[in-house]
């Protein structure tokens, strides 16, 4: 049988793969370009992927399609791109480009091997792009592993850093176990429904011909691996140590792209494969959302280390992100999830960028940021704005409106109790975001031991400026973000 390949829908992934190979080869063949070459290739590849993704706006497009397994059944495709997919891609591609820029100083200074770093980053992004377009469970799990495997290496890549190696090992072991559960779950779903393709699985489940207890267990096990990516409770344990051990840009990548990939996978599995099982998975997700935000916020309250604080904050934010899925995953719910994710990705990268910049003069603890406003006003303003957006308070209006949208999906689904839990959590979250915030504006003579701020490399500055500008513009005109995303 000849497989006709439609190159259009898969072009973004191909751009990234091509970029990964070129970046690696460039580093080996032209060592004199090592300083800028691989980073430039990465940015070009992402830009190419972005441009080719934009050309797909509109109708649903597919690739790698197979005819129906049995007569009268639906056909299935392994690669499905619709407008929802494109939003996941925007998050993944945008964050990947920003992380590449954040990695650049370390690459240029030789702390990280240039070619390998860019190769791994693009390879992982390829996985994330594929995951968001997955139309069958095998593509899904392979894409999921493609996201993870390069990240293990990225976490431990820093030369002569034993903490990084330990962090990588922790992440690796936990992730492999989670993947094993997912594989087990997929095999059960396949056994019960006779297919791994979305259209066929959902048809088999809806028609009731699949053995439902097996499908139910299979679904839960499949979700384990994805919940691990999202860092939902009870799979959040790896987060703080890994974030602290990893290079800070990689932590930013984990908190945004890896999480986005997990959420994309969750959405696909729940909405495309098991829509008729809503009554089963909705309460589970609602409980997971409530627990995740509560555990993340309570743990973040006690943190003194800046990256650790952002790590637990990202766990809490994952809880908010799960709320729209728990609400049922209708078109509006997915829109709510994606608009919150876009906001979160933007300001979280901004916060990590500032922390990365500050780490260059030795600031690691929250207390080391004392008086930052006096010494480096724009850095402090950017961090303050990002924290306010994460907390959901004006002037970070975009964060506030994103929270409103998430609340709305909970209320519209009659999950008022979850909305109330979230309300309490928003208040708890404030405590630690503001503890960080007030430090920035304190007179700097309160902390004579704090390291003296120095300069920040241009590429980090550019990321901070770009994300801050975007967050400010979106706070004045939130419609620019919410309009295109929410149907």
């Amino acid at each position: 049988m000849t497989q006709v390949v439609d190159w259009g829908p898969i072009a973004p992934a191909l751009w990234l793969v091509g970029g990964a190979v070129v970046a690696l080869l460039l580093d080996v063949t032209v060592p004199s370009w090592r300083r800028f070459g691989p980073t430039m290739v990465t940015l070009v590849a992402v830009a190419g992927a972005f441009a080719s993704a934009l050309s797909l706006v509109g109708d649903e497009q597919t690739a790698f399609c197979l005819p129906a397994v049995r007569d009268g059944g639906p056909a299935g495709c392994s690669w499905v791109v619709d407008d929802v997919t494109l939003v996941w891609w925007v998050v993944v591609l945008g964050a990947t480009a920003l992380v590449a820029a954040l990695l650049h100083p370390a690459v240029a200074e030789g702390d990280l091997p240039a070619g390998e770093t860019c190769f791994l980053l693009l390879a992982s992004a390829t996985g994330a792009v594929s995951l968001a377009a997955a139309g069958d469970l095998v593509t899904l799990v392979i894409a999921m592993e493609t996201v993870s495997l390069p990240v293990f290496a990225l976490v431990g890549l820093r030369r002569a850093d034993r903490r990084g190696a330990e962090a990588a090992l922790k992440l690796f072991v936990a992730s492999v176990v989670a993947t094993a559960f997912t594989l087990m779950g997929i095999s059960m779903v396949y056994g019960a429904t006779g297919s791994v393709v979305a259209t066929q699985v959902s048809a088999a489940v809806a028609s009731g011909e699949a053995v439902s207890p097996v499908v139910g267990v299979g679904l839960v096990l499949t979700l384990v691996g994805l919940a691990f990516k999202v860092a939902s409770v009870p799979f959040q344990v790896w987060v703080p140590d890994t974030y602290v051990g990893a290079p800070i840009p990689v932590a930013a990548y984990l908190s945004v792209v890896s999480k986005a990939a997990g959420l994309a996978g969750l959405t696909i599995v729940l909405v495309r494969f098991f829509p008729s099982y809503g009554d089963n998975w909705r309460p589970v997700l609602a409980a997971a959302a409530a627990l995740t935000m509560t555990v993340g916020n309570l743990a973040a309250l006690r943190q003194r280390h800046a990256v650790r604080l952002l790590a637990w904050s990202s766990v809490a934010q994952a809880g908010y992100l799960l709320v729209p899925l728990a609400a049922g995953g209708s078109g509006a719910d997915v829109g709510a999830l994606q608009s919150y994710l876009l906001m979160y990705a933007l300001v979280n990268v901004c916060a990590f960028a500032v922390v990365l910049g500050a780490s260059r003069w030795g600031a690691t603890d929250v207390a080391d940021f004392t008086g930052l406003y006096r010494r480096n006003m724009w850095l402090a303003v950017a961090l303050a704005f990002a924290l306010l957006c994460l907390a959901g308070l004006p002037p970070g209006v975009v964060g506030l409106v994103a929270k409103v949208v998430v609340f709305q999906s909970a209320v519209d689904a009659d999950l008022v109790w979850l909305a109330v839990v979230m309300a309490v959590n928003v208040a708890i979250g404030l405590v630690y975001y503001l503890r960080f915030l007030v430090v920035l504006f304190r007179p700097d003579d309160l902390a004579p031991a704090a390291p003296r701020p120095g300069g920040v490399p241009d590429s980090i500055d550019a990321v901070i400026g770009l994300t801050l500008a975007a967050a400010v513009v979106l706070s004045v005109f939130p419609g620019l973000l919410f309009g295109p995303v929410i149907p």
């Binding site: 306010l388 308070l393 004006p394 002037p395 209006v397 506030l400 409106v401 409103v404 949208v405 609340f407 709305q408 209320v411 519209d412 008022v416 909305a419 109330v420 979230m422 309300a423 309490v424 928003v426 208040a427 708890i428 404030l430 405590v431 503001l434 007030v438 504006f441 304190r442 007179p443 939130p478 419609g479 919410f482 309009g483 929410i486």
Partner: protein, 503 residues
């Protein structure tokens, strides 16, 4: 798309705040602040004139003057809708006046320590957020402005608060913020429930479609609003954040917190309880009324036990807001008018009291009765006179604004809405009367401790010209509203309340 001009009252202070941060010298920044505040004062006066000209009866735009309407976030049904009516106009004016007084006071009396430019900018942002809340005609916009006030106030307390107690002021600031945010998130849930039921966030439309909802739905919304806004008012027993926040805040922080921020809560209750979910509010009203009178008595007893002037004024605020809540809970047009009057009167008088407490603190270094040393009549006669005047106004001396606030609230409780138990409200009224007597007692005690006594310490610097400038508008307002209460009451006669009263 129309912009009627209320944007000026929000935009000018925000712009002013930006300029203040960029001005290199603190003194110049203060002047910029006063200029911005003066512009807002003019705009607020204009808005009041427009409301007066439009008359108290609901017109074509639902009784609102200066209505702006523009698309903001279309996909969420959230629009930029502003407007002002006889309920919000007095509060806009109150905010403009109090902020102007604060900005004048900051010219020469910024708290030492941190850069005063930041404080001026934050005061302006608080003004913008408060006025925005009062004039927002879209629930989400209301929520955004409501929240906009919080972070600046938190900074004001946490960075410019009590210099001798860095941990205490941070704790007070955070407690204030966390309580309010929990409350406002519950309020948001109520708004989203309304949107879920009616499909709109538009306040004007909701005044039609809200009262048509089922009683059960209305009750859920009303209870959520009571808890959410109650944290802000503050309603007993959610008041626990207030005494600390007031006593640790710098003078301008206390003035704005008591004079303006508490009003955001009562305004919200008046607006939504009376006009959007009146049937549900009737179910919850007896409980709100009970909490109101408990607050009156509780606050009066607490005040008798205070040894610090600032804390005493703070606790007295809880009592005064109890009168407002009692008036709100009667669910009548008279109750609405009484609540609005008591709101404004409390803002003016308590604002003045906090200015005076701040002045004493500047001079003596403390507001503790023992360390103040008494005998302010002898040591600074004019200052003593101001303190006595403000205390008399606050305890409800006829002829001053505070009298009408208390009197009208009790009068409203005498004749509550037909759907409420009259007996219950008569009991409430009697208890509130006892509270009013106790209020007189503690203010008399306070005046005796602060002002009277034998002069055995150094004289104090008497009231200085900039203080005269900052306090006189409030003194004039206290007398003016006391002598001419119809200034605020003219709208009530026409039955401004759309929901409860018309049925």
């Amino acid at each position: 798309m129309t912009f009627a001009g209320l944007e000026l009252a929000i935009g000018v202070p925000l712009l002013g705040a930006l300029v203040v941060m960029l001005v290199p010298r603190e003194r110049a920044a203060g002047v910029v602040g006063v200029v911005a505040g003066s512009v807002v004062l003019v705009v607020a006066g204009w808005a009041c004139a427009e409301v007066y000209a439009a008359g108290p009866s609901p017109g074509s735009s639902g009784g609102f003057a200066l209505v702006s309407d523009a698309t903001w976030i279309r996909v969420l049904d959230v629009d930029w809708r502003l407007g002002v009516d006889s309920l919000s106009a007095p509060l806009v004016a109150l905010t403009a006046v109090l902020t102007w007084c604060c900005l004048v006071a900051l010219l020469r009396r910024a708290p030492a320590g941190a850069d005063s430019r930041g404080l001026v900018a934050l005061v302006l942002v608080i003004e913008a957020g408060s006025i925005g809340t009062f004039v927002a005609l879209d629930l989400v916009l209301f929520f955004v402005f409501f929240e906009l006030v919080l972070i600046p106030m938190w900074f004001v307390i946490a960075l410019w608060g009590d210099r001798d107690d860095a941990t205490g002021r941070r704790r007070a600031a955070t407690r204030f913020l966390v309580t309010t945010v929990t409350g406002s998130a519950l309020m948001l849930v109520a708004f989203l429930l309304l949107h879920h039921e009616t499909g709109t966030f538009d306040l004007v439309a909701l005044r039609q479609s809200g009262p048509a909802l089922s009683v059960a739905a209305q009750t859920t919304v009303a209870v959520l609003l009571m808890l959410g806004l109650g944290a802000k008012v503050p309603m007993w027993p959610l008041h626990f954040w207030l005494p600390d926040a007031h006593s640790k805040a710098p003078t301008v922080g206390s003035v704005l917190l008591a004079g303006v921020l508490l009003k955001l809560g009562t305004y919200g209750l008046l607006r939504f309880w009376h006009q959007v979910v009146p049937d549900g509010a009737l179910e919850a009203a007896p409980y709100l009324g009970a909490l109101g009178v408990v607050a009156i008595v509780y606050a009066a007893l607490a005040c008798l036990a205070q040894t610090d002037l600032k804390r005493l004024v703070a606790y007295s605020s809880i009592g005064h807001m109890g009168f407002v809540l009692l008036a709100v809970s009667t669910m009548t047009g008279q109750g609405l008018a009484a609540a609005n009057f008591a709101n404004v009167a409390h803002g003016v008088i308590t604002g003045l009291l906090f200015f005076l407490a701040g002045a004493l603190k500047d001079r003596v270094g403390s507001t503790d009765f023992g360390r103040l040393g008494g005998a302010v009549y002898g040591r600074a006669p004019r200052l003593g006179a101001w303190v006595a005047f403000a205390a008399l106004a606050s305890l409800g001396l006829p002829g001053l604004a505070g009298f009408w606030g208390e009197m009208l609230s009790m009068l409203a409780a005498f004749d509550p809405h037909a759907g409420l138990s009259r007996t219950t409200y008569l009991v409430y009224m009697a208890v509130a009367g006892v509270g009013a007597v106790l209020t007189t007692a503690y203010f008399v005690v306070a005046v005796r401790k602060v002002c009277q006594g034998v002069v055995d310490r150094d004289a104090l610097v008497d009231v200085e010209p900039d203080e005269w400038t900052a306090w006189t508008p409030l003194g004039v307002a206290a007398v003016g509203l006391g002598l001419f209460p119809w200034l605020l009451l003219w709208s009530a006669s026409a039955g401004e309340v759309v929901g409860a009263v018309s049925r």
